[in-house]
C-alpha cells in the first residue's frame, strides 16, 4: 500500500526567490510526520501548496495513489485535506459555529422555495463536535474575537475534524497554548492517527515533535535535507540537521 499523500519534486518560486526546491516525501494513513526546519526553510509554503493556497511551479501531488491537481483551497477541502494554519484563519467578526461551517454553510428551505442559512443545524452540529472533543466554550454564539487563544485553536481543530478530514495539516498547533491545552492537542493528534488519518505537523517544539510523530522531514532553505524515523534519531541530531551542521541523504 502506498502513501496516503505524496508530493514529488515540488518546486515553488516567488519572483526570483525559490521557496521550495524539488521536495519529495510521503505520508501514510495513520501516520504523523513532523515537518521541521528553521524560519524561511519553506515549510509553510510547501504546506500551502498542498492546501491549495499556492500552485506549484513544478512537481506532482498524489492522494490515495492517484495524481491530483489542487488549484484552490476548495479542491483540497473537497478531497478531505484539511489545514489548520498558524494564524488559525478564523473570522473574528463571526461566531463559533459560523466559523466551523465557513464556506460550507448549511441551508434550509423556508416557504418551500427560499433558501436560508440553517443556524439551528449548524449550532447543534458544532455543539456536538465540541462536546465530543471535550472542549469547553461558554457560548457558541460568541464571536471569535471574544475567545482566548486556546479556545480559538480548539475551534480551528474542531472545524477540521467535523469535516471528516482524511488528511490533516497542522502548522504550529501548540504555539499559543498553555501546557494543559498542549497535552490535549497532542492527545487529539494521537486519536486522529489511530483513526487512520494522515497528519503533517509543523512545529518548533521538539518535545511535542518527538512525543507524537512517527517520522520527520527536515527542510533547509527550500530543500529537503533529511528524513528520519523519530524513534531512531535524537533531538541533537535533528537540531544540527535543521541548522546545517551535516547534510545526509535520507
Amino acid at each position: 500500500m502506498g502513501y496516503l499523500l505524496e508530493v514529488r519534486n515540488i518546486t515553488k518560486r516567488f519572483g526570483g526567490l525559490v521557496a521550495v526546491n524539488n521536495v519529495s516525501f510521503g505520508v501514510n494513513a495513520g501516520e504523523v510526520v513532523g515537518l521541521l526546519g528553521d524560519n524561511g526553510a519553506g515549510k509553510s509554503t510547501l504546506v500551502k501548496v498542498i492546501s491549495g493556497v499556492h500552485q506549484p511551479d513544478e512537481g506532482k501531488i498524489f492522494f490515495e495513489g492517484k495524481e491530483i491537481k489542487i488549484n484552490n483551497p476548495m479542491d483540497a477541502l473537497s478531497l478531505g485535506i484539511e489545514t489548520i494554519y498558524q494564524d488559525l484563519a478564523l473570522a473574528e467578526n463571526l461566531n463559533v459555529y459560523s466559523n466551523i461551517f465557513l464556506g460550507r454553510e448549511k441551508l434550509k428551505r423556508i416557504l418551500g422555495f427560499i433558501k436560508v442559512l440553517d443556524h439551528d443545524y449548524m449550532y447543534s452540529e458544532s455543539k456536538a463536535i465540541l462536546d465530543r472533543l471535550d472542549i469547553k466554550i461558554p457560548s457558541l454564539r460568541n464571536k471569535i474575537r471574544m475567545l482566548s487563544g486556546g479556545q480559538r485553536q480548539a475551534v480551528a481543530i474542531s472545524r477540521s475534524i467535523y469535516w471528516d478530514a482524511k488528511f490533516l495539516i497542522m502548522d504550529e498547533p501548540t504555539a499559543a497554548l498553555g501546557i494543559a491545552e498542549q497535552k490535549k492537542v497532542l492527545d487529539l493528534v494521537r486519536t486522529l492517527r489511530s483513526q487512520g488519518i494522515g497528519i503533517i505537523i509543523i512545529s518548533h517544539q521538539l518535545y511535542d515533535v518527538f512525543s507524537v510523530t512517527d517520522r520527520l522531514v527536515i527542510m533547509r532553505r527550500g530543500e529537503k535535507v533529511a528524513e528520519r524515523v523519530t524513534k531512531e534519531t535524537t533531538p541533537d541530531e535533528v537540531v544540527s540537521l535543521i541548522v546545517g551542521a551535516e547534510t545526509v541523504n535520507a
Binding site: 477541502l77 489545514t83 473570522a91
Partner: protein, 360 residues
C-alpha cells in the same frame, strides 16, 4: 489607507436595555429628532411630509444599501454617485430617442430602463476586476471610475439634463397606491378622474410607488445579507480575508459580485431618478451622493475596516440624514446647518462604535 486606531480598544460591558439603546442609538436619536421637529417644524408631523421624505430618499436608500455590502467587505465604492448619473442619462437618452420616434410610451420606458440598468453593471465589473485581479486599492479604483463615468455621462448629455421623455414617466415615479378624495371615493394607482385644480389639495394620498419599490428592494437585500451564503461570505471576507480564502470561498469572484451589486443598485437609483424627475440627470459634483451614502452606512453601525454593518442600520442612517435636512428646513433653519449637523452626527457614530465595539 490605514484606519488603525492608536490606543487599545477598551471593552465596555453593557447589559439589557442600555445595551440595546446604545446599539440602536441612531434609531433613538431619530425618534428624538422626530419629536423635536414635530414641534418646531411647520407641517413636519404629517402623513404627506413623512411620505415625501421617504419618497425623496429612495435614491439614497438604494445607494446606501449597495454601499453596505461593499463596506462590510472592507472596501469602499466612491463611484456610485456618477454611475447613477450615467444610468440616468443613458436610459433617458434612449427614451428620448424612442419618444421622438413616436414609439409607444411603455415600450420606450421599458427599453430605457433595461439599457440604464445594464450599463451600470459595467463600472461595477471594472471596479471588481481592478480590485481583485490588479490589486488596485478600492479607494483608488472606484475614485478613478468616479472620474471616468462622470466624464462619459457628461459627454453623452453635454452638460444638460436629458428631456423630452415620455410624459407617463413622472406619473409612475410619483404615483401613489391609494387616493382618497374625502366624500367622493377611493381610487387605486391613479388620481380619481375629474379631480382638478385646487381640489387636488384635498386629496389624501397613501403609499407612494417609490416606497413600495424601495421597500421591496431593501427587503430582498436584507434577506440576501442576513440569510444567505452570499451574505455570510460577505461578512467573512470583511472579517478576515485569509479565513475566507482558506475556507474555500472564492473571494475574488465574490468581491466582483459585490461591486457589481453596488453599481447595479446605483443604476437602479439612476433609472428611478428618471421616473421621479421626468428627465435624465447627470450627477453634479457638489451632490456628493457617494459620500452621503457612506456616511449613512457608517451611522448605521458599519465600520470602514469591514466585518460589520446591517441593511437596517444603513436605512436608519439614510432616514436620519433626511429627517435632519427636512426638519431643519421646515423649522426655518438655513440648509447649510445640515452640513454641520451631518458632520457632527457622523463623528458621534464613529465614537459610539469605538466605545462599544461588541454591540453590533
Amino acid at each position: 489607507m490605514s484606519n488603525e486606531s492608536i490606543t487599545v480598544k477598551r471593552k465596555r460591558e453593557l447589559s439589557g436595555v442600555t445595551a440595546v439603546l446604545a446599539r440602536e442609538w441612531a434609531t433613538v436619536f431619530l425618534f428624538l429628532l422626530v419629536v423635536i421637529f414635530s414641534f418646531t417644524g411647520r407641517g413636519f408631523f404629517s402623513l404627506n411630509n413623512f411620505q415625501n421624505v421617504l419618497h425623496l430618499s429612495t435614491v439614497f436608500l438604494l445607494l446606501a444599501a449597495g454601499e453596505t455590502f461593499v463596506i462590510i467587505t472592507g472596501g469602499i465604492d466612491l463611484s456610485v454617485g456618477f454611475v447613477m448619473g450615467l444610468s440616468s442619462v443613458l436610459g433617458a437618452k434612449v427614451m428620448q430617442i424612442m419618444q421622438a420616434a413616436a414609439l409607444p410610451q411603455p415600450l420606450s420606458m421599458v427599453v430605457g430602463t433595461i439599457v440604464g440598468l445594464s450599463i451600470s453593471i459595467i463600472p461595477g465589473w471594472v471596479n471588481g476586476v481592478l480590485i481583485t485581479k490588479y490589486n488596485v486599492p478600492p479607494f483608488i479604483a472606484t475614485l478613478g471610475m468616479w472620474g471616468i463615468t462622470n466624464g462619459i455621462t457628461l459627454k453623452i448629455c453635454q452638460g444638460f439634463p436629458v428631456a423630452y421623455l415620455p410624459p407617463k414617466l413622472v406619473e409612475i415615479g410619483n404615483g401613489f397606491l391609494i387616493y382618497i378624495y374625502p366624500g367622493k371615493g377611493v381610487t387605486f394607482f391613479h388620481k380619481p378622474a375629474g379631480v382638478v385644480g385646487t381640489q387636488i389639495r384635498e386629496l389624501i394620498r397613501i403609499l407612494p410607488f417609490s416606497i413600495i419599490f424601495s421597500t421591496a428592494v431593501l427587503l430582498f437585500l436584507w434577506h440576501l445579507l442576513k440569510n444567505t451564503k452570499f451574505g455570510q461570505h460577505t461578512y467573512a471576507i470583511g472579517g478576515s480575508m485569509n479565513a475566507a480564502i482558506r475556507s474555500g470561498i472564492d473571494v475574488k469572484k465574490h468581491l466582483v459580485k459585490v461591486y457589481i451589486l453596488s453599481s447595479f443598485l446605483a443604476g437602479m437609483a439612476g433609472v428611478f431618478n428618471i421616473f421621479q424627475t421626468g428627465v435624465g440627470n447627470f450627477t453634479p459634483f457638489s451632490a456628493m451622493y457617494e459620500l452621503f451614502a457612506i456616511a449613512a452606512v457608517v451611522i448605521g453601525g458599519a465600520s470602514l475596516m469591514g466585518g460589520k454593518g446591517r441593511i437596517v442600520g444603513s436605512v436608519v442612517g439614510v432616514i436620519l440624514l433626511a429627517v435632519i435636512s427636512n426638519g431643519l428646513s421646515l423649522s426655518g433653519v438655513e440648509p447649510f446647518y445640515r452640513f454641520i449637523a451631518v458632520g457632527v452626527i457622523l463623528i458621534i457614530a464613529v465614537i459610539m462604535d469605538q466605545l462599544f465595539p461588541d454591540l453590533f
